[in-house]
């Protein structure tokens, strides 16, 4: 494995600016990445999820394999039916299916709860993987361009809108006020050069690729900010609303694509849980086979004894 590399911290003081981010805590909070920033914690979380999902799946297998379920599904009619358990027509398939459904259900519930945690608590990582000023400069370019483009869509950028953007970057994000002022001075004249959708797509792509950005959470916050922005000059233009709707649709589409990828991961996880359940089912089947085998041996022995007694 390659050794992680770091380059000496960049000097950005040639232009009189010595930092991009002045409040690292607020900046890291806005990234909404939480403990996912750490490879070790990510791995631990995934391991726990698989373990818990597999545990729920095994419980499902246990319930499905119980005599009550077996009785309901397979209507035993006596010893022959119990012996049937040891033949090719065993209900092991049903047991596995029930286990997978139980495991999948558990994953959904645990995921729902873990998704909702962010609504109550913000987790801020102590450090992030990307050099903070590099990430800050990239984000201010992308977020600033998009915000200015939306503000300019009604034909002009009002001073109130500029103030709203500056306040958002300085107060909410913790960017350095001098850096924000200079960036906006550079970005504002070129605000109408690029299409809204292209800017939104670039931002979404960047967020998805960066290990320190929680794209869906950041996008939800950004949409709130954009709505505040278009209302900040006291007039909500229809074109501004349409632009925000277009951005939202594009991000939802991106999110669906990401979810499809996550779905593949979920399928793998369910497969892993299914394998654990399969092992559990195999144990159940094995026990049933042993029981069947023991019973048939006893039965054969009993009938042999009976025959011998009848002969005598």
């Amino acid at each position: 494995m390659p050794e992680p590399t770091a380059s000496p911290e960049p000097g950005i003081d040639e232009t009189g600016i010595d930092q991009v981010v002045s409040d690292p805590l607020r900046f890291k909070q806005q990234l909404q990445i939480g403990e996912e920033a750490f490879a070790l914690l990510r791995a631990k979380k995934q391991l726990y999820t698989v373990w818990e999902t597999a545990g729920a799946a095994a419980t499902g297998a246990g319930i499905a394999g119980s005599s009550v379920v077996a009785g309901t599904f397979f209507a035993p009619t006596g010893l022959a039916a119990w012996l049937g358990l040891a033949t090719a027509a065993t209900p092991v398939g049903w047991v596995v299916a029930a286990a997978v459904v139980a495991g999948g259900g558990y994953y959904g519930v645990s995921r729902w709860f873990s998704d909702k945690t962010g609504a109550f608590v913000d987790t801020i990582p102590k450090y992030i993987n990307t050099p903070i000023d590099v990430l800050g400069a990239a984000l201010i370019d992308l977020l600033g361009s998009l915000a200015l483009r939306v503000a300019a869509i009604d034909g002009q950028i009002a001073q109130a809108e500029l103030d709203c953007i500056r306040d958002h970057f300085v107060e909410d994000w913790g960017f350095d006020p001098v850096y924000v002022a200079r960036s906006l001075d550079v970005l504002a004249p070129r605000a109408t050069d690029t299409r809204v959708k292209a800017l939104a797509a670039d931002l979404a792509q960047f967020q998805a690729a960066n290990p320190d950005c929680n794209a869906p959470a950041m996008q939800a916050e950004l949409l709130k900010f954009l709505r505040d922005l278009i209302a900040s000059d006291g007039v909500i233009d229809e074109r501004e609303e349409l632009a925000i709707e277009a951005i939202e649709r594009m991000w939802q589409e991106q999110s669906r694509l990401t979810l499809a990828k996550a779905g593949e991961g979920l399928a793998d996880m369910t497969k892993a849980a299914g394998m654990v359940a399969g092992e559990a089912a195999s144990v159940i089947g094995g026990t049933a086979r042993s029981l069947g085998s023991a019973l048939s041996t006893k039965l054969a022995e009993a009938s042999r004894n009976l025959r011998e007694k009848t002969k005598s």
Binding site: E3, T5, A6, S7, E9, Y127, N129, P131
Partner: protein, 140 residues
């Protein structure tokens, strides 16, 4: 950059912990490794009733050395520094011991990588730093 001259170690004008945390934030390193470096920064030793900020001194030295030798990976510098200090200053092993293994693992430093740096000018700088740190702790 001068690879021959030893680094000037000015204990009285060390960067503050806040400044060192800020420098860590600016490095392109995995967050896991940065956390361990942060723990190293917070490491202190109590010598004869006085607190010596060992971690702050080590991190300031390591980042300074990294500036002078940009072609060398930070992980290799950190790995060599902590292992050399642990082996040369008896008292420091107790303080840094629990951090050495995780640090080497976080930077994925192999003993081979450190062997490559042996007898280099970097090693001489670290030896000098170790001697000064030892003396500073003895004076505390």
């Amino acid at each position: 950059m001068n690879n021959q001259l030893p680094i000037e170690i000015d204990w009285t004008n060390l960067p503050s912990r806040r400044e060192l945390h800020r420098r860590l934030d600016r490095l392109a390193l995995p967050a896991d490794a940065k956390v361990l470096m942060g723990k190293l920064l917070d490491t202190t030793a109590e010598v004869a009733g006085r607190i010596v900020e060992v971690g702050r001194r080590i991190l300031a030295f390591v980042l300074d050395l990294f500036k002078r030798y940009p072609a060398t990976t930070l992980g290799a510098i950190v790995g060599l520094t902590v292992t050399m200090l642990v082996s040369s200053i008896p008292f420091i092993g107790v303080i840094l011991g629990p951090l050495v293994g995780p640090l080497l693992a976080a930077f994925m430093i192999t003993s081979g990588a450190m062997a490559d740096m042996r007898n280099s000018s970097i090693e001489k700088q670290i030896e000098l730093f170790g001697a000064k740190l030892d003396a500073a702790m003895a004076r505390a």
